[in-house]
């Protein structure tokens, strides 16, 4: 159990390791979910006020869109082809979106600090050198593709695909989300114009923000599916109250 993320549980007898993530991981997991939902719901509300996407600097209803999401809009000016206009929810949505973004920023900073100094990052998230051998990665992909998850049901540490996915979310998708979001801000663009130029312009940043959202959404769906398929009760308990020994759960 030395290289696993399950803590031993302060109150439990030393022989039966309690399946439980550390307090910091459990708290940040659920706060993260809260922020994600707030950002997703408010982001969708903001999106429907202009469900058209462009590339480059400028784009509006007089511009040919890159693509358009086939939904009604909350603004009458957008030619959606639908005969009705959804209620405008942008006011609170924008406020919630930015407040959620601030919360997530603080949470991510705290989580990264914890993960680095506690060894969580190195021990649980960084792929082990042996796991990165092409054969091992391919084997893991094959097993996932066949839904051969028997090993995962007994796993007490993350597999290589899981580790790579978490690292991608943490170090690729989150930073890109924050960057593309900030690039849409006129004041931030004034302070750091290169941040907008590097993404291809103001409207490109908005389009990238949308595609990163889709990537994060896919991650969450696959994450929940995998938790469901590899012992929902055990994993949910490990991420909440803990409890239940490995032996008992495997019986």
């Amino acid at each position: 159990m030395a290289d696993s993320f399950w803590d031993k549980g302060v109150d439990s007898p030393p022989t039966a390791g309690v399946l439980r993530h550390s307090v910091a991981v459990r708290i940040s997991h659920w706060l993260n979910l809260l922020c994600f939902l707030a950002l997703l719901v408010s982001g969708v509300e903001i999106l429907i006020s202009h469900p058209r996407f462009y590339w480059g600097e400028a784009g509006n209803v007089n511009t040919k869109p890159l693509f358009q999401i086939p939904i009604p809009s909350s603004r009458a000016i957008v030619p959606t082809g639908y005969g009705y206009v959804l209620p405008d929810q942008n006011g609170w949505s924008r406020a919630l979106h930015f407040q959620g973004a601030w919360m997530l920023l603080f949470l991510s900073a705290a989580y990264l600090g914890y993960s680095f100094f506690s060894g969580h990052l190195k021990r649980d998230l960084a792929p082990r050198a042996a796991d990165l051998a092409p054969g091992v990665v391919m084997d893991s992909i094959r097993k996932h593709a066949r839904f051969d998850l028997e090993e995962e049901k007994r796993a007490t540490s993350y597999n290589v695909l899981q580790r790579l996915s978490y690292l991608k979310v943490l170090f690729v998708l989150f930073p890109l989300m924050i960057w593309s979001g900030l690039a849409m801000s006129p004041a931030f663009a004034a302070a750091v114009p290169a941040a907008v130029a590097a993404l291809g312009g103001h409207q490109s940043a908005r389009t990238i923000h949308f595609f990163v959202t889709i990537s994060l959404l896919l991650f969450v769906l696959v994450h929940v599916l995998m938790v469901y398929l590899t012992g929902f009760r055990r994993r949910l308990r490990a991420m909440t109250i803990g409890g239940g020994s490995a032996i008992e759960e495997q019986a």
């Binding site: 302060v10 109150d11 903001i46 999106l47 006020s49 202009h50 058209r52 600097e57 400028a58 784009g59 509006n60 209803v61 007089n62 511009t63 603004r75 000016i77 942008n90 006011g91 609170w92 924008r94 406020a95 919630l96 930015f98 407040q99 959620g100 973004a101 601030w102 900030l182 849409m184 801000s185 006129p186 004041a187 931030f188 663009a189 004034a190 302070a191 114009p193 907008v196 103001h202 409207q203 908005r206």
Partner: protein
């Protein structure tokens, strides 16, 4: 319960006290440095305050991006406004010859400038992007009198903290802090892409604040009031926007 030892409890207590004092000191410092927006109360107050404070620290003196002439949008879009009232229609019929911009409040010399007088003031042009909170944008060249010049003309007093600006259209008003009001790119715009500002885009006069979103760029501006107490205006939230659920500060 052994895990809640006395040492843990004392540590938690001391941390809480330190945290609360830290927040109180940070709040006082932020207020002194003008980092608290008028709509800092309520459920989303913390987010509003963090955004405004952070962007003030980061971008106080930054210039909005300016674009080359070929970047100007071929067909700029303007969201429709409510049908104008009869007074506006009379102004429009007269070619806005009688339109005035009144400047009052904390100024040494309250003035009322006609459109011709405004257009004869020193002007500045910039090719900048107008971004709507809905997500769309366009690039145009705006020409107008820097708001700082008008404030100088009227003799704004040193205790001024905000400039409140009113549209001729009832109920439409907003305000800027002095950083934004004195910013060299903040214009009382009368010309767009070389033509008199079209009514659809807020003509004859529109506030042009390129470091904030479209809705701060109030159309049909007819009056400026310089103040040291933004809370005296309407519900005290700094503009009409927070009364409809939108942020006073729109740099993001």
């Amino acid at each position: 319960m052994s895990r809640f030892s006395r040492r843990t409890m004392i540590g938690a207590g001391l941390s809480a006290v330190a945290g609360a004092s830290g927040l109180a000191i940070a709040g006082k410092l932020a207020r002194q440095h003008g980092l608290i927006p008028p709509d800092s109360g309520g459920l989303y107050g913390p987010g509003e305050t963090l955004t405004y404070g952070a962007q003030r620290l980061l971008a106080r003196h930054s210039l909005a991006r300016e674009f080359p002439r070929e970047a100007i949008s071929a067909a700029p879009w303007a969201n429709p406004t409510d049908p104008p009232d009869d007074l506006f229609k009379r102004h429009q019929a007269a070619g806005f010859a009688n339109w005035t911009l009144a400047v009052d409040g904390l100024v040494a010399r309250p003035v009322s400038l006609s459109l011709a007088e405004i257009k004869s003031q020193p002007s500045r042009s910039h090719i900048t992007m107008l971004v709507c909170e809905e997500g769309w944008s366009y690039i145009a060249e705006w020409t107008g009198v820097p708001l700082s010049h008008i404030l100088e003309l009227a003799g704004a007093k040193p205790e001024a903290r905000h400039v409140v600006y009113f549209s001729q259209q009832h109920g439409w008003w907003d305000s800027l802090d002095m950083d934004e009001a004195l910013h060299p790119q903040t214009l009382i715009a009368h010309t767009m892409n070389g033509q008199s500002l079209p009514v659809g885009h807020g003509g004859p006069l529109r506030m042009r604040v390129p470091k904030q979103l479209g809705y701060k760029n109030v159309k049909f501006v007819a009056r400026l009031t310089v103040t040291d107490d933004i809370r005296k205006f309407s519900k005290g939230l700094g503009s009409a926007s927070p009364e409809f659920g939108y942020s006073w500060y729109a740099g993001i």
